[in-house]
Amino acid sequence: MEYAVELLNIKKQFPGVLANDHITLKIKKGETHALLGENGAGKSTLMSILFGLYSSDEGTIKINGKEVKITNPNDANALGIGMVHQHFKLVHNFTVLENIILGVESTKNKLLDMASARAKVMDLSKRYGLDIDPDKIISEITVGMQQRVEILKMLYRANDILIFDEPTSVLLPQEVDELIKIIKGLAAEGKTILFISHKLEEIKRVADVCTVLRRGKVIGTVDVATTTKEQMAEMMVGRKVLLQVDKGDGYKGEKRPVLEVKDLCVEDKESGKLRVDHATFTIHAGEIVSLAGVDNNGQKQLVEAITGIIPSNGEIYLCGENVTERNIRYRNTHGLSHIPEDRQRHGLVMEFTVSENSILQEYFNDEFQKSGFIKRAVVDQYADELIEEYDIRAGRGGETTAGSLSGGNQQKLILARELERDHELVIAVQPTRGLDVGATEFVQKQLITQRNAGKAVFLVSLELEEVMSLSDRILVIHDGKIVVSDLLPSKIDMMELGMYMAGSKGVDKNA
């Protein structure tokens, strides 16, 4: 059997990390081959080498049996390799059609020949069932359609080796279904497909063969149909993994309201549009309430308004006290803990040591300062306790700079700081984003511990599995409105949740 792609003995060294450790990967013509691995396992690096974005230190690449040198994406393109990146590479103020032909424009008498380009694009669109509107501007269309535009870009360039890098991470459940249908269609037409993912469910549904990477090495290649999800997860992580979260016994105490939000509105400064539109909800002690929604539907603004970072209209009650007019510091010292979405930008000072970061929210407390002087010894001891208790792996202990910690350990540091100080409410925004399985488990377990200890947890997440497995109750936000606030994860399925998120279901109580 002839191989479409052969990556032989590929090695790539980054400063401090061996991203690809002599990886050999062979992909047969016409097969859908999944590449499974955790964040940092080397999947994206390998694909970037194949697509010419990086050059490998060692190893050879063969396309259709012939050895090739790929030094940039144009080389890859000439060999028939196309790639849909996780973050799309589209020109936002161009139309769909303009984006598709960008770089390979056909001309007639030195003028753009849009008519023939359009005909070709529409033909491809019909043939592969890729529904698009060629004249819409990119910024006006849905993420799902943007992805179809990316796929059409590859097809327009007559690529027959198609790389999909984490293609479902930005999609709604319904859109995922459609994408999988499209990929199957492409495979049926004889295209060779490389599907990068860390989601077992999708790999099960779409791929024929799956190669598992861990820490830059190939762990094995398995036949997807005959391998269970549990087996693949074990290969990926290197130990047995519980795919279910154990939530333990719930909180038995009084379910008093901890956070109450009434008619909260946040106006966009430039457009004057309401980014948060009359949001009203309550979170009680001892429950995890998730805010589900498609990215950029007002989650960020809602969280920033509650934490006091941006001004808002409406009322916010923290532990029964109206804090609407209070500043960030007041809220932080009166029951609010915040695990921000961007841990490097908002959660930590990367140049500071672990020790210095551990008191970022408390340095002004008498525990850590006396008449303006920081009690260094107390701080260092406190940091050591946090390191111990939260298993923060820091090469030089409290003296390690935060920037040199791995992402998981940075998140553990933030978690330690925010959960160890006095609080009643934890707002966690995308707390497991970019973390490996071990760190994800740790973070989720901590949130559940919080809930069982009677704290209120407000979880904002784009990972629907996380929302479904952790929450006691789900709110859904769409276009700044809380469309539903009483979904129980046990009573609904992902599809239904997806419909709420897309705005096609749910009553707008305030309309």
Partner: protein, 363 residues
């Protein structure tokens, strides 16, 4: 993660980078000497290295005088830099501080000696503080670039100083201000006998003391903690509820007080007790930018880098003995100083090399 044995470089990465930067600066300076006058280059370079100590105590006294001013101005840039604000308004703060000190030193003759000097110095400090507060205020509340405001205020400062001098205490014969009353001069503690004709006084020691004070403020206090937080990562500062606006204004005020003080102490010196009327901003305080850059903003490092740059500046003059015209001397000292400014690049290079060797050891 395995702990690797810590080397000197691991413990003092900044100091190492600064030293390497100085050596590279000197080498490039030597290269300029070789290119312009090959025969005398060795002798010239020797003069550059030893000039300030071979020429008797006068030259060394000058090093101390300049070092004191450089330390104060370097601290100013370093302190503002920790908040993430660039103080380029040194000249304006310096000259305004100087003119305020002169005003007290010349006009308020009713003050008793001792007190007179102290009041004059404080006047200079406050003038510099007020002058720079404008910058901090505009930056904090209207987000106006501190660089633009700082540069403009340098010019305004010079012309305002000239105006005050012309109006209040002008010596038309020499086209400069009148001389300061001797009761307002900075105490020398007998240093004029050791370093004759240099104006060496306690400025240098005051500067070192202040460097230590600034070091303590930055590294030991909650105020310093807030300032560094905002300087490294303003967003994290905001998330933790730090009032970033207040800190910008405060740190800019302190950053202006230092050159104001430097100006006061410079013009209240026995060898230079007047301000010449010129239409350009004084260049001496601007060296504070390089001083701080070489030391990467560290107050203790600033003491060392200020002495180094003062030393090179003074020693350089000796190269004229070997046929280097003053312009070349300027070029050489400037080249050295600006090469040392590549210190951050050097620091990065060192850490890359270190990491590679660690990887090799471990792998």
């Amino acid at each position: 993660m395995r702990k690797t044995k810590k080397t000197w470089v691991d413990n003092f990465p900044d100091l190492t980078a600064s030293l390497v930067a100085c050596v590279i600066g000197l080498l490039v300076g030597f290269l300029v000497l070789v290119v312009t006058n090959p025969e005398n280059s060795i002798k010239g370079f020797k003069a550059l290295l030893t000039g300030a100590v071979s020429g008797g105590f006068t030259d060394f006294g000058n090093v101390i005088v300049y070092a004191g001013i450089y330390i104060l101005c370097g601290l100013s840039v370093g302190f503002a830099g920790k908040t993430g604000v660039f103080n380029i308004g040194l000249s304006g703060q310096f000259i305004i501080g100087g003119v305020a000190a002169l005003y007290v030193g010349i006009m308020w003759t009713w003050l008793p000696p001792g007190i007179h000097c102290l009041v004059a110095v404080i006047a200079g400090l406050l003038a510099g503080l007020g002058w720079s507060s404008t910058i901090g205020f505009l930056r904090a509340f209207f987000n106006i670039s501190e660089i633009v405001v700082g540069i403009l205020l340098n010019y305004i400062g010079v012309y305002l100083a000239n105006m005050i001098i012309l109006d209040k205490f002008y010596d038309s014969y020499a086209n400069r201000s009148q001389a300061v009353q001797s009761s307002a001069l900075i105490p020398t503690l007998g240093m004029e006998k050791i370093f004759p004709g240099t104006g060496a006084d306690i400025t240098f020691f005051v500067a070192i003391l202040l460097a230590i004070v600034i070091h303590v403020i930055l590294n030991k206090t909650t105020f310093g903690y807030e300032i560094r937080t905002c300087g490294f990562n303003k967003d994290a500062g905001i998330y933790s509820g730090i009032n970033a606006k207040k800190n910008v204004i405060l740190s800019m005020a302190i950053a202006g007080a230092l050159p104001g003080l430097a100006g006061a102490m410079f013009y209240l010196s026995s060898s230079h007790n007047y301000i010449q009327i010129v239409d350009s901003a004084p260049a001496i305080p601007m060296r504070g930018i390089v001083v701080s850059l070489v030391a990467m903003g560290s107050p203790i490092g600033i003491i060392l880098s200020a002495i180094f740059i003062a030393y090179i500046t003074v020693s350089g003059l000796d190269m004229q003995l070997y046929g280097y015209v003053p312009e070349i001397v300027d070029v050489v000292t400037s080249v050295i100083i600006y090469c040392t400014a590549f210190v951050i690049l050097i620091k990065k290079a060192i850490s890359t090399i270190l990491r590679k060797s660690h990887d090799l050891n471990e792998g």
